[in-house]
Structures are given as C-alpha cells and as structure tokens.
C-alpha cells in the first residue's frame, strides 16, 4: 500500500445549526493528486481542516494509512498544510520558517541545514534562506510555504487554495510546477479550490462538492465530460441545460423530447423517464446552415448574438423551442458565415448530449468511490 492513503467515513461537521460537511465518504489512494472542488461554503475547506486537525469532526472517522486520526491533535498528525495566505511566520526568516518543523521534531543540527537547503532547491528558491518572508513576492512566499510543509516529508500534503492570492499568469505557471513537484515527491496532495480550471489541470481525480456533500468523484475527464448531476454539469465549465421529457432507452440512447422535437441522448441516465434536463457543452454543439441536409438530433434555430472571445467565437442561438443555446466555434482565422438573425440548424451529436433526470438529488445514491478505477 502506498503511503498517504486517506479514508473518510461518514465525516460530518456541524457549526451551531449549519451543517458544513454532511456525512462524507471518500477514499484517496496514496500518491494521488486529489482535488476538492466546489463553490465557497460547500464544505471543502472544512473537510481539509478536519483532516489537518484544526476542526474536530462532529461525526465520522478519518483514516490516515489505516489509523484513525480524527481525535489526534494537529501537531501529532503526519500531514502538513499549505495555507491560503501562506501563514509564514513574520518574525522568522525563510530558513527558520522551513526549519521550524524539523526543530520541533528535534532533528540534529547537522541534519536540519542540508534538509532545509534541499527543500529550498526543490521549490527553486536556493540562496534565499536569509530573507525575511516580508521581503518575498507572493509567488516566492507560496514556494516557501510549500517547502516548509514538504521538508517534513508528510504522508499527505493539504493545500488550501494556495494559488488564490496570486495573479492569473503566475497561477498558471505554479499550477504546472505544483503538478510536476507532486509527481517528483510522490506523496498524496489534497488540493482545495473553487477554480475548476485549476482542479481539472492538476488533479488525477477530483470530487465536486456542494452543500457539504460530494456530487461526483472521478478523473477530470469523467467529471467534465460525463457530469452525473445537474450541479456538476452547471458548475464545471459552461453548460447548455435544456428542459426535456425523457421516454426511456431508444436505439442510440435515451429518447427525449424538447417540445415537438425528438432527440436521442447518448450520455447520462439512459433509462430515465419523465421530466429531465439535457446537457451539452458549447464546444460540442455543431452549427449547420439551415438548408443543409437534415438528420437526427437536429433543431432549427436563429443566431442571436456573436461574441468574440479571442481563441473562439461564442455563438448564442435561439432554438425553435424558445431556449437559448451557446455554441463555441474555434477561431480559425476565417470569418463565420453567421451574423445576428441568420437561420441555422443546430446539430447536437448523440454522444455529446447527456440526459439527467430533473430530480437532482435522486441521481446520486451509490458511493462515489464506485467510479474509481481499481
């Protein structure tokens, strides 16, 4: 068994009358880069703080490599945290900040120095040991926080929105660095973020959280391409959600009707019947000319607006059912043959269209860990 396996069983946290985390079950194998993704207030940070030991669970167990640590004080847990605002000790210089943990563990002096220097090299800050933390830029402070946590060689590294305070460009650079670093050191990273792009770029797997519960667990690809709930579909990227009625399995997928139009949806709950929603990503919507040959899964519509976003053009289409749909057309340098008011035919490919029953909660009954490849 790889070191750094986390197992959360029925983990709950209540603050007064608010349920922050609602009986969470989650399994994270050792060495994985796992993200908790969700909007603010979804319980992701509380979950992380319970694993770190800063909050005591109201119920449930936290198994770290098989040992229940739910009631172990934070200074006795083999996990380390990178805080959102770094929490570097302002009265200590960079070297002493990183050495803090080693000195608490009573490591001999001749071991502390080389280990701190090694950690500094690891985060590419070699030679900056004498600086005060206030003399560092935000990105450098973030690296010191990382080195300070990694130098103790924890089983699990917890990261609480560590890139949140940095500007967009630096964030992109550090995302790649963090992922590389994680692969290098091979320990479990549990990463909390509300930024879906961060979670998708870096994670091996991620859990989407909402209202203290996990909506879906899976690889970035699973979660993005095959959202299991309306919340996930809506939270990750831009989704087109349309009301529909489902009529159970057909030839290629679930038969759904949008008013008078019949479509088949290849993804999602293909056996569902009754009121439902169909979901499609804007980049999967295909625009055709109105007089192109018709076929299955096609709807008439009219271009309502074109939005130039640089790498692509967003085309907002009013579908004949009255709903609005967004299509993303890659910018190839050629002008689009559409403008406001152009009648078009919209192709929603069967395999790109997913159906989700409208009763959102009913969707998820099985433990999330089922989707984990063994």
């Amino acid at each position: 068994m790889a070191r750094g396996e986390i197992l959360l069983i029925g983990l709950s946290k209540r603050f007064a009358d608010v349920v922050a985390v609602d009986s969470l079950d989650l399994e994270i194998p050792g060495g994985e880069f796992f993200s908790l993704l969700g909007p603010s207030g979804c319980g992701k940070t509380t979950t992380l703080r319970m694993i770190a030991g800063f909050e005591q669970p109201s119920e449930g167990r936290i198994l770290l490599d098989g040992a229940d640590v739910a009631y172990t004080p934070p200074h006795k847990r083999n996990v380390n945290t990178v805080f959102q605002n770094y929490a570097l000790f302002p009265h200590l210089n960079v070297f002493d900040n990183i050495a803090f943990g080693l000195r608490r563990a009573k490591r001999p002096k001749n071991e502390v120095r080389p280990r701190v220097e090694e950690a500094l090299e690891l985060v590419q800050l070699g030679g900056l040991g004498k600086r005060k933390s206030s003399e560092l830029s935000g990105g450098q402070q973030q690296r010191v926080a990382l080195a300070r946590a990694l130098v103790l060689n924890p089983a699990v590294l917890l990261l609480d929105e560590p890139l949140g305070a940095l500007d967009a460009k630096l964030r992109k650079t550090l995302q790649i660095e963090l992922k590389t670093l994680q692969q290098e050191v091979g320990i479990t990273f549990l990463y909390v973020t509300h930024d879906q792009e961060e979670a998708l770029t870096m994670s091996d797997r991620l859990a989407v959280m909402n209202n203290g519960r996990i909506e879906q667990v899976g690889s970035p690809r699973d979660v993005y391409e095959e959202p299991e709930t309306l919340f996930v579909a809506d939270f990750l990227g831009v989704s087109n959600l349309m009301d529909a009625a489902a009529h159970g399995a057909g030839d290629a997928g679930c038969r759904v009707t949008l008013e008078r139009f019949e479509l088949e949806a290849g993804g999602g709950e293909r056996d569902t019947t009754g009121p439902a929603k169909v979901v499609i990503r804007p980049e999967r919507v295909e625009l055709e000319r109105r007089d192109d040959p018709s076929g299955p899964n096609r709807l008439p519509g009219m271009v309502e607006r074109l939005v130039y976003v640089g790498s692509a053009v967003q085309v907002l289409v009013r579908v004949a059912t009255g709903e609005k749909l967004q299509a993303l057309v890659q910018n190839t340098g050629q002008a689009l043959p559409y403008e406001q008011g152009t009648p078009v035919q919209i192709h929603l490919p069967v395999d790109a269209l997913r159906v989700l029953s409208a009763g959102e909660r009913a969707v998820r009954q099985e433990p999330e860990t089922d989707t984990v490849p063994a």
Binding site: H75, N80, F89, F100, G101, R104, A105
Partner: protein, 311 residues
C-alpha cells in the same frame, strides 16, 4: 443637451464667497480642518509649554520670567527637585509604583488577553465586555472601593505602597488586555495553526510563535501602563499612607495649594518627559517590529516582477 448659448456665465465672486472658497475648496487642501486642528493644538499645548518654561525661571516667581536657569532642577540647595526631600521621595515613589505596575500588570494582562481572545465558549462575550469596565469606571469610585476593601476586608494590605501597587495593577490590566487583544485579533489564528501543523505543541506554539508576534503589543502596553501609572493621581492619593508614599502628582497638588515654587513646574516637567519618552519608545518599538507587515504596494510590484521573471 445644452448648447453654448444655454451655458451660464459663472456668478461674480464676492469677497465672502472667495474667502469661503479658500477655506472649503473641495479640490484644494483641507484648510478649514488644518486651521481647526492648529487652533486646538495651540489651546492644548501653550499652557503646558508655559509651565515648562517657568520651570527654568531664575527667580521664585511662576509668572514673571527672569532668565534661564536650572536651579529648580538641581541648582537650589533647598527647594530644587534634587534637594527637596519631599519632591525627591515623590519622584522615587512614582517610579517605584510605575515599575512595579509594569512588571505585574503586563504579564497578567497578556495572559488574560490570550485567554479571552481564544476562548469562544459560553461566557466569553460578557467576559470580554467586562474587561472594559475598569476603563469606564470613574477612578474616584474605584479608589474609594479599593480603600474600603484594603482597610476593612483585607486589612493586612492597609494603605501605603503595596495597596497603591495593587490599585494601579487593577486598572492597568485592562489597558494591557485591550492592546494585546487587538493585536491578537489582527494576527488571527493562522500562525498558531501553522505552528501546530508543523508539529509544535500548544505550549511551544505559544512561546515560539505567539509571544514573538505579540512582542510589539506587549512593549507598547508596558509603555502605556508606565505612562498612566506615573500620571495617576486619584488612586495613588486614596491608597497613600501619606509622607513617603505620596507620589509626584500628589506632591504637585499639595505644593500648588500651599506655596508654589518653580520646582513644582520642574517636577511636573520631569513627569511629562518620562511619560512622553515611554509612550514614544513604545510606539517606535511597535513600528520596528511590525515593519514587514504593511507594505502592500511594494509586494504587488514585486509579484509582478516575479511573474515576469518566471514567464
């Protein structure tokens, strides 16, 4: 839309409106506020400066200036601060009380502040509020009640130096708590959590992280305690047993009522300097210790620089 013909010519400026504009021009310097502030400063400072000036008077008069001298500080063999035993004793007693107050009230106040700031259970709010009580209770009420306490209940205390120290400590603690608690709230819990995360037990987190971070607040509150203790009149007076336990403010009061000499001004000046020095020192230490904590604009600039370097 207005056309050129509709635009009105500006009204003629009268002398009144011009001077008003000079005072209150919203785009210019806030002259009215500056004038107001200076008027107050002069009102408050001039009497003090005159009192200081007459402490250097060469004659026994406190109203007629007759040249500069330091006779009321140490030159006069009988009536100078240095040679008059009652003034000298008072100075010693004041310094003794202030020092003891600092040494006792500061540690107790720091521990109380940490406890109150980190205690979030039932009763923490009223307790936090109660800490403000000594600050708002009229000193005379506190003085009387302490006197009754020490002469009727805890009679082994009685009046005199121990009673005065206890009295000063009682009201000083609140100042320490308020200052240190403010600092605790502004530094938050994150450093303690980081320390615990890195393997520090609560005791180690306190000594290695929290106390160093509180140092500026501790020194500042010690300076404030020194200043208010040395200035205190009411409680020192109530708990004094007369003679050797009279402090400088008590002596000044007594001397002014009897036959005032410029030596009274001299000792008052000494007090003022001591107070100013302690408060200034506290402020400078605070600034020096928290220097790294307030440079947001520089940080932003450096961050941009780092982004460029890495990009």
């Amino acid at each position: 839309m207005s056309t050129a013909s509709e635009v009105q010519a500006p009204a003629r400026l009268t002398a009144w409106s011009r001077s008003r504009g000079w005072l209150t021009n919203p785009w210019g310097r806030p002259r009215f506020l500056v004038l107001f502030t200076w008027a107050y400063m002069i009102w408050a400072l001039v009497p003090v400066l005159i009192a200081v000036q007459f402490s250097f008077n060469d004659s026994r008069s406190r109203t007629v200036w007759q040249g500069f001298s330091t006779r009321w500080y140490w030159g006069d063999p009988v009536d100078s601060v240095w040679h008059d035993p009652s003034l000298r004793n008072a100075l010693v007693q004041s310094l003794k009380l202030a020092t003891a107050d600092v040494l006792i009230a500061t540690p107790i106040g720091v521990l109380l502040a940490i406890g109150l700031a980190r205690w979030t259970g039932w009763g923490s709010r009223p307790s936090n509020f109660l800490m403000l009580f000594p600050l708002v209770t009229p000193e005379i009420v506190m003085g009387v009640s302490l006197l009754l306490l020490f002469t009727n209940v805890f009679t082994f205390v009685g009046t005199g130096t121990p009673a005065q120290i206890l009295g000063h400590v009682t009201f000083s603690i609140s100042y320490v708590v308020v200052i240190v608690r403010g600092r605790l709230f502004s530094i938050g819990r994150q450093y303690e959590e980081a320390a615990a995360d890195l393997g520090a037990s609560p005791t180690v987190a306190l000594t290695r992280v929290l106390l160093p971070l509180l140092t500026p607040a501790i020194i500042a509150s010690a300076a404030v305690v020194f200043a208010i203790s040395i200035d205190d009149f009411v409680i020192s007076q109530w708990l004094s047993s007369g003679g050797a336990t009279d402090t400088v403010p008590i002596q000044i009061y007594a001397a002014t009522r009897a036959a005032p000499l410029p030596s009274t001004n001299a000792i008052a000046t000494v007090m003022m300097v001591l107070t100013l020095v302690s408060v200034t020192a506290g402020y400078l230490v605070w600034r020096a210790f928290t220097r790294g904590e307030r440079r947001p604009e520089r940080k932003a600039a450096e961050e941009a620089g780092a982004a460029l370097q890495m990009g």
